[in-house]
């Protein structure tokens, strides 16, 4: 915790705070993410969200900070813990909720599920559930953006556990060698599924300590401080957009709940959990906004409207029918079908 306290003072106050409107947007987004995921969890416990779901409760400051720093043309690649990154791109809550519930109105009509949220129209290029693989795919989008002469940047989020898989190394090296406009953001929430990352990793900071291996500077940020994640995102994205190559950011954070489903996360020491709960990014940010002169009614309005939006999204998702079964054999190939023979 000591080094995190240091980080909080260094990273967030180095850069000038974001303008008031950006801060309010970030706050609103974090509140929506929190409300949305709490509702998703309730619905999971009620058996309405099926299969699995991986919540980013407690990690919102990363998705919201980066989301606010990205331009509409920038691309997002996320993991199965991707609800917040999807909402960060302005994807409709109801469609995400319906996808979690396996309904026809879902983002992918029920064919993807919680772990594969994708909205190409908003440049949310997918949520990937094989640890580490999407770092290589993010490179491809960045390479393409560069070749096509656009100024679009790719931001790729992944967990601490992904830093120990081969694809991480292959992707970081290639991104550096090709000087790709990609920002890799490791959300270090200290755990893989159940095992602490520190038990299985040779260095203390699983991403930042490896940056040097790719000729990159280590960037470590307090992932529970939305001003700090925003500042780091702005800098890394600007660097990528200017053609100066990739960045590897490690954002230190903690998930409030378990890894997935109904995991209570009991493998984590109580003091550790309490310490991190006291660093909850949302009340922390709220307090900072109040201290900076934002009046309480503005914040309350944000909170009320988020609660309303989640209620409406839930109702809309519940009203959506189950998927038509014919979609099972649709869209395997570009002809729209699944026929492999003639």
């Amino acid at each position: 915790m000591k080094e995190l306290a240091d980080l909080a003072t260094s990273a967030s106050h180095e850069a000038a705070p974001p303008p008031r409107d950006v801060r309010l947007r970030i706050y609103a987004r974090m509140v929506e993410m929190r409300d949305f995921e709490k509702r998703a969890h309730d619905l999971f416990l009620q058996g309405l969200v099926k299969g699995t779901s991986h919540l980013g409760l407690g990690q919102e400051a990363i998705a919201a900070g980066f989301g606010a720093a990205m331009a509409p043309g920038d691309y997002t690649f996320a993991t199965y813990r991707g609800h917040n990154h999807t909402l960060a791109r302005g994807v409709a809550m109801a469609a995400v909720m319906a996808e979690l519930m396996g309904r026809a109105g879902g983002l992918m009509a029920g064919k993807g599920g919680s772990m594969h949220l994708t909205t190409v129209g908003k440049r949310m290029m997918g949520s990937y559930a094989i640890v580490g693989a999407h770092l290589t795919i993010a490179n491809g989008a960045a390479w393409s953006a560069k070749l096509r002469g656009t100024k679009d940047v790719v931001v790729c989020f992944f967990g601490d556990g992904a830093t120990n898989i081969g694809a991480f190394h292959e992707a970081l090296n290639l991104a550096a060698v090709w000087s790709l406009p990609v920002v890799f953001c490791c959300e270090n929430n200290r755990y893989m599924e159940y095992t602490p990352i520190s038990h299985v990793t040779a260095v203390e900071h699983p991403a930042a300590d490896r940056a040097a291996a790719y000729g990159l500077s280590p960037v470590l940020v307090d992932g529970n401080d939305a001003d700090a994640t925003y500042a780091v995102a702005v800098a890394a994205i600007a660097r990528a957009r200017a053609g100066e190559g990739p960045s590897l950011v490690e954002a230190e954070t903690y998930r409030h709940g378990g890894h997935s489903r109904a995991d209570p996360g009991k493998y984590r020491p109580e003091e550790e959990l309490q310490a991190w709960l006291s660093r909850d990014p949302i009340p922390r940010y709220r307090q900072r906004l109040v201290e900076s002169g934002v009046d309480a009614s503005t914040l309350e309005e944000i909170e009320l409207s988020s609660a309303r939006a989640v209620d409406e999204a839930t109702q809309e998702a519940m009203a959506s029918p189950p998927p038509d079964l014919f979609v099972v054999e649709r869209d395997v190939w570009a002809d729209g079908g699944s026929s492999w023979r003639r």
Binding site: G126, A133, N139, V332, S339, R341
Partner: protein, 321 residues
Amino acid sequence: MTYRDAVAHAIAQEMARDPSVVFIGEDVGAAGGVFKATVGLLDRFGPTRVVDTPISEQAIIGAAMGAAMTGLRPIAEIMFSDFFAVCWDIVANEIAKARYMTNGQLALPLVIRSANGGGARFGAQHSQSVENWAMAIPGLKVVAPSTARDVAGLLAAAVRDPDPVLFFEQKSLYPSRGEVPDGEVVDELGRAAVVRRGSDATVVALAAMVPRALEAASLLCADGVEVTVVDLRSLVPLDVTTVAASVAETGHLVTVEENPRLCGWGAELASIIAEEHLFDLDGPIVRVTTPHVPLPAADALEDAAMPSVERIVEGVRRSLA
């Protein structure tokens, strides 16, 4: 033109036609490929579009995927098809499933070329025929040409295809020669070719097994047995129509497969013919395959393992007996 030169010919044709076509792989640019199948492309199209990569199969295929979903039409090379195992996650979980999982939002027009199969005495890790791995994955197309002409036409078609295509070049065929017509050559994926006609049996073969099947057909012909040889050319789409029509005429089906026996492509074909055309058959379906072994290195052993002309002749006779 050689089979090898037809590779560079087709890539050049497509790169010249469409600026979104790019080509990446290990040693493919400056060196022209370890099989010299891509000589001249770097000089002609430059280092932005023809790119030598690190030895990072996952990064190569991932880059192709990310590029394909954002407006490019990449061609990636996996030097030896055995190395698909190193990046199979990206091929089988990421590329193959992307369109489906996203309900059609992601399109991946990309080609992965690879040197496949035995005959070069390279041993078990550089010789396997893995086209049946690819065939087992929904969402991929699988092509394997037998002639220089088909390399040209099918590779061009693969590049233009809106789906991800795994393109298997049989490495022992690289020096083989054949006519490639002048001008643009583009075929359609999923059309088998009847390369010899005979009324006694239908022999279906792929890639390097096609010339062997043709040789077997000549030997059988000298004995008065007339066989049809079908070059399947692609496994997905699978041209069942052409095979079934031939079996309806001959009443006998023999597959010649370089892949190891279990779950080889001929097993699928045999099951379809048995299920849908049983009463066209006048004898057992015979599969001539590499036995279910990794390929050995020594020339005598490798030759003994891969389907030989003699084994094909014997297979046809068994079907006719």
